[in-house]
C-alpha cells in the first residue's frame, strides 16, 4: 500500500533536519501508527491525519534529537573541562619560561584555539541537529589537532620538561582520548 501523501510530507520535514537512519526509524513508527488506525476501521486519509497528530509536532521531535546529539554532548563536556586543561598549559608554559616558543607558533596556537572554541560553542548551543553535528565533529577534530600539536611541539621547541608541563601534557592526552572516542558516534549520525 502506498504511503499517504500526508505521511510522506511529514517525513520530508524530518528528513530535512535529521539523519537518514533516524528518519527511517521514525518512518517505521509512523507507518505502524497509521496501520493501527486502519485496523480500527478509519479511512486511509483520516488514519494518516490521526497518525501524524499522534506523532506530534515534527519540530518537537527535531528539538528532542538535537538535545541528544552525541557531537553536541561531547562539545559541552569539552567546553566544561577546557578551562582546566588551559590553566594547566598556562601554568606549564609560564613556569617553563615558554616565551622561547617562537611568536608565530604561539599566535597560530591561539588562533586555532579560538576557532575550536567557536566551533564547540556553536555545537553546544545549537538547536539545529545537522549544524550541531557538523560543528561538533569539526571542533573534536580541532581539539585533537591542537592537543597533539602541543604535546609534540612544546618539547621540540626546547621547553624544559617539568612536572607542571607533564601534567598539562597528560591532560591534553586525556582530552585527545575522549575526543577520539566521541568522534565515532558524532560522525555516525
Amino acid at each position: 500500500m502506498p504511503e499517504p501523501r500526508l505521511i510522506s510530507s511529514y517525513l520530508d520535514v524530518l528528513a530535512a533536519q535529521l539523519p537518514a537512519s533516524i528518519v527511517e526509524e521514525l518512518g517505521d513508527g509512523l507507518a505502524e501508527t497509521h496501520r493501527s488506525y486502519l485496523r480500527q476501521g478509519l479511512a486511509p486519509d483520516l488514519a494518516a491525519r490521526s497518525a501524524v497528530a499522534e506523532f506530534g509536532d515534527p519540530e518537537l521531535i527535531v528539538a528532542g534529537f538535537a538535545r541528544v546529539n552525541p557531537a553536541r554532548r561531547a562539545a559541552r563536556r569539552l567546553l566544561v573541562v577546557g578551562p582546566a586543561v588551559g590553566a594547566c598549559w598556562v601554568a606549564a608554559l609560564v613556569t617553563s619560561r615558554a616565551w622561547a616558543v617562537p611568536l608565530p607558533a604561539r599566535m597560530l596556537a591561539g588562533l586555532v584555539l579560538a576557532a575550536v572554541i567557536a566551533l564547540l560553542a556553536t555545537s553546544a548551543l545549537g538547536t539545529r541537529y545537522r549544524l550541531a553535528a557538523r560543528t561538533g565533529a569539526m571542533g573534536l577534530f580541532g581539539i585533537i589537532a591542537l592537543d597533539a600539536s602541543l604535546i609534540a611541539g612544546v618539547p621540540l621547541a626546547g621547553v624544559p620538561l617539568t612536572w607542571v608541563l607533564g601534567l598539562a601534557m597528560a591532560a591534553s592526552a586525556a582530552r585527545i582520548s575522549y575526543a577520539a572516542r566521541a568522534l565515532r558516534p558524532a560522525l555516525a549520525r
Partner: protein, 112 residues
C-alpha cells in the same frame, strides 16, 4: 498524564516497558499506554529521542532488523539498564510512600 508531569520519570517507564524483551519504538509507547490504562498522553514521536538518550547512556541497546520489507530498530535492556531500573523502582517506592504519608497522614515506612 502530560509530558511535564512525567519529567524525571519517563526514562524509568521506558526501561520498564523494555523489561519484558526487545521492542521497537511504537511497541514501547503502546506498552506504556497499556500499562498506564491509556492515561499516558505523550506525542509518540517524542519517545524516540528519549530512547536514543537511554542508548547513549548505555542503559539500552538498539539493533536493526527487517520486518515486512521495512527496516526496524529494536531496543533491549542492557545489564546496566536492568540495574538502573531496579534502582529507580526502589527510589520510586520510597518517594511515593513519603509523599503519600505527607499528603494523607499516617506513618511513613522506613526505607528498606
Amino acid at each position: 498524564m502530560r509530558a511535564e508531569e512525567l519529567k524525571g520519570h519517563l526514562d524509568a517507564m521506558l526501561l520498564a516497558a523494555l523489561e519484558g524483551g526487545p521492542q521497537h519504538g511504537y511497541a514501547v509507547i503502546e506498552a506504556l499506554r497499556q500499562s498506564t490504562g491509556g492515561r499516558l498522553d505523550l506525542p509518540t514521536g517524542t519517545i524516540y529521542p528519549a530512547l536514543h538518550r537511554l542508548e547513549q547512556a548505555g542503559l539500552i541497546t538498539g539493533s536493526w532488523s527487517v520486518v515486512g520489507g521495512r527496516r526496524r530498530r529494536e531496543y533491549r535492556l542492557t545489564p546496566a539498564g536492568d540495574r538502573a531500573l531496579s534502582g529507580r523502582r526502589a527510589d520510586w517506592r520510597d518517594f511515593s510512600a513519603m509523599v503519600t504519608a505527607a499528603l494523607e497522614g499516617g506513618p511513613c515506612p522506613n526505607p528498606a
